[in-house]
Amino acid sequence: MYRYFISLQWKSFVRSASFKTEIWFKILMALGALYFILLFLALGVGAYFIIEEAGLGDPLRVVNRFLIYYLGADMYLRYMLQKMPVLNIRPLLYLPLKKNSVVRYSLGKTLLSFFNISHAFFFVPFSIVLLIQGYDPVSVAGWHLACLALFLGNNFLNLLLNNVDRFFYPFLAALASLAVAQYYGWFDITAYTAPVFDAFYDRPWTALLPWVWLVFCAVWAFRHFRSTMYLDGGLAIRTAEGRTEDYTWLNRFGNLGTFLKNDIKLIRRNKRSRTTVLVSLLFLFYGLLFFTGSMEVYEDPVWQVFAGIFVSGGFLFTFGQYVPSWDSAYFPLMMSQNIRYREYLQSKWWLIVIATAVSTVLASFYAYFGWKAYLAVVVGAIYNIGVNSYLVLWGGAYIKTPIDLTSNKKAFGDRQAFNGKTLLLTIPKLVLPLGVFMVGNLLWNQTAGFVLVALSGIVGFTFKDRVFRLIEKIYRKEKYKTLRAYKQQGS
């Protein structure tokens, strides 16, 4: 029976619209995964010796101290990045398949995810090093198996939590405040958790407890999905109360206002876009790493430009990147309604420009770190508006992944808006201004570098009409392919 599931899954993977066009993306992402694997491996082997060198004490005890944060970070990453089992459950419900096996398959599939396997690259080498260093084999095995169970437990816990946002944000807040409390020495949670992890080593039989926990989580997740596997249960469509809103103040902008109104509703009423905008707000604080001097490598002025672009461009990078995919669900309407392509693109452009301007104003607190810090943000904003805003729209013409705005309806759907691809496309938009800045910085001085970056933004802005004509042409050319790709929604 599982044979069918696996072949279904395989087909949905190879037949999806994005597979062919984005094979190089997949290769790059595979390379990225490989990089992390190597990193973990090096960490696993090296951790022991690094800790020993640093004279922090028994490496195993040190790892145990921070294991709670490792688990917490793992949970966070899972929630943000791990995809829910994408097997489409609905059409399988009435087929002669045992519900239990459908659920078991969906859950079992998650065990093979990168998020579970990657940890082995740390724990396996680390345990081997422990053995070589003469730690007691039974104890090491106990500790190792206990950790394995805890991480797999996270896997199932994530499946359960993914349905409920109200657990996630408090969890995140708790984790962050614990870390802060530890940093300032107010409260040290590791004093309470480290002995627990130590126990797995000192008394190997206690490793049974995490396994009980794992089984409990797995059964819980199974029961949860099994019991809610009805069209009016877990697979049901949760409806929010609709409110008709006017935003009449946007009427003065004519057709542009009509689109802006729609985009505001799009952002406010869909989980996916809301998450994206929240993430973009986090970008505002990214600059703190650079301007507070907390990281030495970031002292170089080049990184200030980098930070400036990120701080003001959060929305541009997270939301703008996916134009026109936000409208994928009703793209045929947009293409056949009384809408000029130019107007449609311009309204998206304005949205990005307005958001960038708002971010820049919100980021004015950087002035606290000196006028140069805020200047970097403003320069970044000018560059974002003048150049990057076109680049994202341009790139968008080639991104043909439909976005399921209503992914919160599908208990098993692909949920999070944030993925590796987005970050990948960001690179060319950042390298260019850094280069421009460096030229100015090397030839004259830092101020000249800032001026050059700002100038290139202004120059870009003056070419607005010409660039729009070009982008419009590309969109028109790609239109039919885009329409076809969006039709394969949910694949």
Binding site: N255, T258, K265, L266, Y330, P332, M335, L405
Partner: protein
Amino acid sequence: MIVAEQLTKVYGTQKVLDIGHLEIPEGQSFGLVGNNGAGKTTLFSLLLDLIEPSSGHIVNQGVEVRTSEAWKPFTSAFIDETFLIGYLTPEEYFYFIGELRGQSRADVDALLSHFEDMFNGEILQQKKYLRDLSKGNQKKVGIVAAFIGNPRVVILDEPFANLDPTTQIRLKKILREMAANQEVTVLVSSHDLIHVTEVCERIVVLSKGQVVRDISTSPETLKELEQFFDSQAV
């Protein structure tokens, strides 16, 4: 007038549409029938420039749809649920379409008041987003939205499918009224031969992408169509 000339659409080796010459005069109510895969939706999608023709072109009121966007102001359509914006309430959707077509809120409200019986109290002021309406109600919204802004060409793909009987009867009445108006060209496709013969002055039968019958509707039309489709069954 809508003219299709040497229009073909090929997917791989399969020719899904092949129309040598098709002319739809202004003001005609035009029905398109055919079995699944006959090319009805393909033809409508070509007319709306949603897919690219493999050869040939379509001219809508003197505008070649492939090269100009000037057909958009006077053409409206409802093909399927991808013409609906799920996160809007029905009112917002109507106003959105209205604004795009240069209609004030009062204009839209006036138009909607004609459809109150059809909406059956399940659509307006229901505090629901379009995505949460039932399929039938979604369809009603899409069809009514296609009437906003006095379009001169109205394209409806399978408008009768999924509709409740009251709405079917109401829709037929509306389409007949529009047919009486010599300025509005109505294009309707359907699987239901009875509906089409009741509404359309002219019926074109597509089979495997080709026009196989082109009939001016008369009392015998239904029988003729039934005979044709019966002979298609093997």
